[in-house]
């Protein structure tokens, strides 16, 4: 069975460490916040200028002056700090954020990522994604392994305009955990009940398959 959105988030959450400052993108990455292991402290960075993002407010706490990068109303937590957009991206560009998790349309064997623009469709913009992928050393991409039509999203070369070049080395899909190195994908784990053959069939870029591919456990 391919992973659910929640299981994808749970798998990514295993990469968290106590004391990490983490930026989570919109969509599945946001769910990672729900699976921070007990006893571990992580602080969420929101690129509009908030470090230490709390949960959504109660109706009584709603404050138009306190939102996250998805423009949702949020709260602060004890230990939060608030700052300008330039300060926020200094953190990101300066490599101070420990982990960035974001979605993508495509990744390729060179670590390129395409995530913001589909030619012919309306272009809304890259927001902070280009800064995040260029600035972080530790990035995890979460996405489905293939499109609804069965087209692989793990490619020899991205076909869509890039968000960043040569900056991705970890991908968690609904079928597998894959690393990128030396111009290849390296299969590290598979989703429970998903066969290696199925993953190979849906991976268009060169995939190195070890003799034993452990199953993820949930």
């Amino acid at each position: 069975m391919s992973l659910t959105r929640e299981q994808l988030a749970m798998r990514v959450a295993r990469e968290l460490e106590d004391g990490f400052y983490v930026n989570l993108g919109i969509g599945i990455p946001t769910l990672v916040a729900n699976y921070v292991p007990k006893g571990m402290d992580v602080m969420l960075q929101s690129e509009n200028g908030l470090l230490g993002m709390g949960p959504f407010p109660t109706e009584a706490e709603v404050d138009a002056d306190l939102i996250n990068a998805g423009k949702q109303t949020v709260t602060t937590i004890p230990g939060s700090s608030i700052f300008s957009s330039a300060e926020s991206f200094a953190m990101i560009r300066g490599g101070h954020v420990d982990l960035t998790v974001l979605g993508a349309f495509e990744v390729d064997v060179m670590g390129n990522i395409a995530s913001y623009m589909i030619p012919g469709k309306l272009i809304k913009g890259m927001g902070g994604a280009m800064d995040l992928v260029a600035g972080a050393d530790n990035i995890i991409v979460t996405m489905t392994h293939a499109s609804k039509n069965g087209d692989s999203k793990l490619l020899p070369q991205c076909t869509l305009p890039l968000t960043g070049a040569g900056c991705i080395n970890k991908v968690v899909t609904d079928l597998a955990y894959v690393e990128i190195a030396d111009g290849k994908f390296w299969l590290k784990e598979r989703a429970p009940g998903v066969s290696v053959d199925e993953i190979v069939k849906l991976t268009a870029g060169e995939l190195v398959v070890p003799e034993v591919v452990p199953e993820m456990e949930f």
């Binding site: 939102i67 309306l122 809304k124």
Partner: protein
């Protein structure tokens, strides 16, 4: 009155001198911390051919979105413009130009513009459409592109509190692009919720020093919320 007193008495006076084809730098992220009344004054003045540097372009009927209604905007320099149907129509009709700019690069362009730095190198956008046609330079084995600073004929800013000298304090994440915008205007106009006397704000808590501010006005704000997300009490 002191020569440092920046307070003006009307929105008309606040935007005095605004002309067609000018560049305006605007603070705000989404609808949070936007100078909503200054934007309405720009609409009232009916100037056209504007270039606006702002992370977003408001929504239909609110924020910078209102300037699209009479086609006052020639060009937007933004990182994300997806919340606005009128924007989409004018873009597709070729009536509006957009220069998509990564959010951190946009913030840094304003910061650099205000700090007298004409350009800077960044890894953001290297190898992408954003980097096309821009100078590339290698530092320590990594490639960077040269991005130019921006300045505006006007900067429009929303802060929480100010003293009469234009020292500013922002509230929560309504800070966002406002401090950089404040530095990057030839004429920087700020609207706030409260104006106090010099000495009433703690000097150690000032976000934007008054030296950057030319005109200051007290307004009332709708503060519309774009995504109202709540949890059970």
């Amino acid at each position: 009155m002191s020569g440092f007193d920046k307070v003006v008495s009307s929105y008309e006076e606040a935007m005095e001198g605004l002309q067609d084809d000018m560049t305006i730098i605007a603070g705000g992220f989404g609808l949070c911390g936007i100078p909503e009344n200054l934007i309405n004054e720009i609409k009232r003045r009916g100037v056209h051919g504007l270039t606006i540097v702002s992370n977003n372009c408001g929504v239909d009927g609110f924020g910078l979105g209102v300037l699209l209604e009479d086609k006052q905007v020639k060009k937007m320099i933004s990182s994300y413009v997806g919340e606005n149907k009128l924007f989409e129509q004018q873009l597709l009709a070729g009536e509006l130009e957009v220069e998509l700019t990564p959010q951190g690069t946009l913030a840094e362009k304003m910061r650099a513009g205000g700090a007298g730095i004409p350009a800077f190198y960044t890894a953001t956008g290297y190898g992408t459409l954003v980097g096309e046609g821009k100078e590339v330079k290698e530092f320590n084995g990594r490639n960077y592109i040269l991005e130019e600073a921006v300045t505006g004929d006007f900067a429009i800013v929303k802060a929480w509190k100010a003293d009469r000298y234009g020292n500013l304090v922002y509230r929560h994440t309504a800070q966002n692009f406002n401090p950089m915008a404040a530095t990057a205007g030839k004429i920087t106009v700020v609207e706030v919720e409260e104006i106090v006397e010099p000495g009433e704000l703690d000097p150690t808590q000032i976000h934007t020093p008054g030296i950057y501010v030319d005109r200051l006005i007290k307004g009332t704000f709708e503060k519309r919320i774009e995504q109202r997300t709540v949890r059970e009490a």
